[in-house]
């Protein structure tokens, strides 16, 4: 029996403002609030709200026969909280139908998986927790920013305890194989891989409203017919796209939502079901390992990482950014951590691309890749300056790390000792109570004051040690 795995991604970048080099060192606010508010409201109104309403309606009408998966980047979630809380309410409503699975992705929608493992794990962990807090689901399946994947990333993701991962069904990786089976990561067979069927996905997200397309107009029965006519043994059809494809890239006037709405009905007639990624990775067996030695993604014809790291400028920006990754990881300055999330977003690198893909591409406020690069490097210049001012620049990261660990350990020790002290204090108090019950309350006073004194001295002693470090 065939099953469709439908997945949508929600991500919106935090737009950077125009930042000239003379502001380096004096202005530490990098964002264009107006563009952010306007952008997120536009996309929410045109796409997210109508699309989510449709998904909710589908979930309710089909009584469990329709299932869908969603993932949201941390930065997008932050923006939705501020500017479009209505979208979050709809997400909760969809979650309450029980037909929706939330997946995990890197918090920043950045490229940390290619640069720094600690940093990557940290932000994935943070996102995992955020999803749990929001929707009460512990995500078991992971999707990387823009479906970037290679064996190494698979290994890292598996070590973090994920059961499955969504990846692109790129031709150069699949070869003669079909994306309609479940595969596993060659580094760790416990991680199952769901491969995107780019033809069927792009039929909806790229071509649906294109009247020059030979299959135009596309109807749900025709679309399900294509799936139905696939060989019986091909069981998983993975259709992944951005949620903004519904309504934004394919306008609502093309009736794309009616098309989506009709999918479960048509699928039912042909005996095709819908499943969430977790259901698939638990129910089905992997047929083979999928060897991906070089990173791939779901973007552009080449399906590689060239849209973000294709030219020297992008690589310099990337290297500069991640050169301070360890320092940012070590520090606990909230604003720096927040800027770090926003600056990592892969879109910032995409704006610098010089690839000519023939597909219209919105560079935002930037005229050209050079403009995007200049602006980003100015901001990065200021950011790196701030990071470097936290700790001495000439100190090795390792040394700094070990010192910080010592401090941290001492802190932990302090907590432990304090706990011990309070435990003893409690014991003492209990003992006193006992004593008071037995004898007169006279000796109680002296005992408690001495106990307090000892706590204080240990605490001050420890804190003075800390400041010396």
């Amino acid at each position: 029996m065939k099953t469709i795995c439908l997945y949508f991604e929600i991500h919106q970048i935090i737009h950077l403002k125009r930042y000239r080099f003379f502001e380096i060192g004096s202005d530490h606010y990098y964002y264009d609030d107006f563009a952010n508010e306007q952008g997120i409201n536009e996309i929410a109104e045109r796409s997210y709200i109508p699309a989510l309403n449709t998904l909710i309606q589908m979930a309710k009408e089909n009584e469990g026969a329709f299932k869908v998966a969603l993932s949201i980047s941390g930065v997008a979630l932050e923006q939705l909280e501020i500017y479009a809380p209505a979208v979050i309410e709809l997400l909760h409503e969809l979650n309450n139908t029980g037909c929706c699975e939330f997946l995990c992705e890197p918090y920043s929608h950045g490229l940390s998986s290619l640069a720094n493992e600690d940093c990557f794990k940290e932000e994935v962990g943070r996102m995992r927790k955020k999803i749990k807090d929001y929707f009460g689901q512990e995500p078991k399946v992971f999707r990387n920013s823009s479906l970037i994947y290679n064996n190494e990333i698979g290994g890292m993701v598996a070590n973090m305890g994920f059961k499955g991962m969504l990846i692109e069904g790129a031709k150069h990786v699949l070869g003669w194989k079909s994306p309609h089976y479940l595969y596993h990561c060659v580094e760790n067979p416990n991680l199952k891989l769901l491969m995107r069927d780019f033809k069927l996905s792009d039929d909806i997200s790229l071509r649906f409203s294109n009247s020059d397309w030979s299959e135009y107009p596309l109807f749900a029965d025709k679309y399900i017919g294509w799936i139905d006519s696939m060989p019986e043994s091909e069981q998983v059809i993975n259709i992944f796209m951005e949620l903004s494809a519904l309504g934004y890239f394919q306008p609502l006037s093309s009736n794309i939502l009616d098309f989506i709405k009709a999918l479960p009905v048509c699928a039912k007639q042909k005996g095709i079901t819908f499943s969430t990624p977790t259901e698939i990775v638990t129910k089905l067996k992997s047929v083979d390992g999928m060897d991906v030695p070089y990173p791939m993604s779901w973007v552009d014809e080449e399906r590689d990482i060239s849209p973000w790291l294709g030219n020297v400028m992008q690589r310099e920006a990337f290297n500069k950014l991640y050169s301070v990754a360890e320092r940012v990881y070590l520090c606990d300055d909230k604003r720096i951590k927040q800027d770090w999330d926003y600056l990592q977003a892969s879109n910032n690198f995409r704006f610098m691309t010089t690839k000519e893909t023939g597909v219209a591409f919105n560079r935002g406020i930037y005229d050209s890749p050079f403009d995007a690069f200049t602006n980003y490097m100015n901001i990065l210049g200021d950011f790196i300056k701030r990071v470097n001012s936290l700790y001495p620049v000439d100190m090795e990261n390792e040394e700094l790390g070990s010192l910080l660990t010592t401090i941290k350990n001492q802190g932990a020790e302090l907590v432990q000792l304090n706990a011990e002290v309070s435990k003893l204090q409690k014991k003492l108090a209990d003992a006193e109570k006992k004593l008071a019950k037995e004898a007169k309350p006279a000796p109680k006073k002296t005992a408690s004051t001495t106990a307090k004194k000892t706590t204080k001295t240990t605490a001050t002693k420890k804190s003075s040690e800390k400041s010396e470090d």
Binding site: F370, T374, N375
Partner: protein, 422 residues
């Protein structure tokens, strides 16, 4: 196909960009194989290249004089034979003996852009009448407003179609405050033309909007560059790892926007000291710019080396890390292409025509000194941007050849001939 072309300049004698463009277009046409060009210019040196026929207008007679063969031979320059002289003499069409002619019955030209330019333009068009009667050709092509009257005259005489080539308009030169005499010459030429070739879409817009021409006969034909000679290629690029040099090269006039360059330099120098600025060239705003530099207090980092020519130009390009052309209105602007050939990244104003065919350059509005300063700073501090623009910029410019321009001009000729008198 035979083309009668009127131009004002031609290498090796170069006054400005017009000579280079005239050379490129004629060379591009000659590479087509079946296009024969007769190029009429006021005062050839005799050292012009031989791929086209040059006619020196200063040796075409307009008054009948009885000169003997041997004397003629001693007087004529390399581009004119006595036989040709006699052939022209047979076509004198009116009595011009009241004009100031020499013993050959010809008029002298000062060449270049002298004070009595309007007289020379008039004389040029008188002589064009003789040439047009003598020569056989299919189409007329006139470069820039100086030769439009000649082109129109030739069209009247021969009834052949006229193409004019707009290398600049007076709107570009004057920031909108046009000289009415020049404007009327330009407008008249355009009104009579059957095809108007502009060096950029920007100029095409000006021609359509300011000169009220029919858009259907106005086309953009972008200029190109010639590959660098080995001599220029071999000029080394000095090591600039310690100190960067940012260059402006061109006439220091209102049209080129030099004050914006100075203001941007002042902004950059406020922030960093290891960059030097160079403003090469001369012009009527030079003194004003020196004053401005002093006023901004950046004279220690801002240099005026004066007018550059020949190889010096390329040495300046090679010695620069950034080339800036902040022109207020530039019909085409060949300088950034030359800088890119030398491997120097360029920043150009969005008001420059060459920006239409270049993508590996940084474009800013000429008035946006913040953006310009930012771009300068970025290229000087981010090695990767410099490298990218250097490598890709050179590759881009290498693909822009006069041969392609020649092909385009020729196809326009064919269209004009096909539709003429229909």
């Amino acid at each position: 196909m035979k083309v009668l072309m009127f131009g004002w300049e031609f290498p090796p004698k170069i006054y400005g960009g017009l000579a280079v463009a005239s050379y490129g277009i004629t060379k591009g046409l000659s590479l087509q194989g079946d296009v024969e060009t007769v190029f009429c210019m006021p005062k050839p040196t005799g050292d012009e290249e031989g791929f086209l026929k040059i006619v020196g207008m200063n040796q075409v007679p307009i008054v009948w004089r009885d000169v003997n063969y041997d004397y003629l031979k001693s007087r004529l320059h390399a581009k004119m034979t006595p036989e040709e002289y006699y052939a022209y003499r047979d076509k004198i069409y009116a009595d011009f003996s009241y004009m100031n002619v020499n013993d050959l019955g010809c008029m002298e030209f000062a060449g270049g852009y002298p004070g009595n330019l309007h007289d020379e333009i008039n004389n040029f068009s008188i002589i064009a009448g003789v040439v047009a009667r003598q020569q056989e050709f299919d189409i007329i092509h006139a470069h820039d407003w100086l030769t439009y009257p000649a082109g129109v005259h030739a069209k009247m005489v021969s009834g052949k179609p006229l193409c004019i080539h707009v290398h600049a308009t007076d709107f570009d030169r004057s920031r909108g405050k046009v000289n009415p005499t020049v404007y009327s010459i330009e407008k008249n030429g355009m009104d009579y033309a059957d095809c108007i070739m502009c060096v950029s879409e920007l100029t095409r817009r000006t021609v359509i909007n300011e000169y009220h021409q029919d858009p259907r006969k106005v086309f953009a034909v972008h200029n190109a560059v010639y590959p660098l000679s080995q001599e220029y290629q071999d000029i080394p690029r000095p090591d600039h790892s310690k100190e960067k040099i940012v260059t402006f090269l061109g006439r220091i006039t209102m049209q080129k926007g030099p004050e914006y360059f100075v203001e941007a330099a002042a902004m950059v120098l406020k922030r960093t000291r290891n960059i030097r600025f160079v403003m090469a060239g001369s012009g009527d705003m030079l003194n004003a710019m020196i004053n401005l530099v002093a006023e901004r207090g950046i004279a220690d980092r801002f240099h005026f080396p004066g007018f550059m020519k020949g190889k010096q130009v390329y040495e300046v390009y090679k010695n620069s890390d950034v080339f800036v052309m902040p022109s207020v209105s530039e019909p085409f602007g060949i300088a950034p292409l030359e800088a890119m050939q030398c491997g120097t990244p360029s920043i150009i104003s969005k008001q420059s025509g060459c920006g239409e065919i270049l993508s590996k350059v940084i474009k800013t509005d000429y008035w946006d000194i913040h953006a310009m300063a930012d771009a300068i700073y970025s290229i000087c501090t981010n090695q990767s941007l410099f490298e990218y623009l250097q490598k890709e910029g050179k590759a881009e410019v290498d693909g822009i050849t006069w041969e392609k321009v020649g092909l385009k001009v020729r196809s326009l000729y064919e269209d004009v001939l096909r539709n003429y008198n229909k």
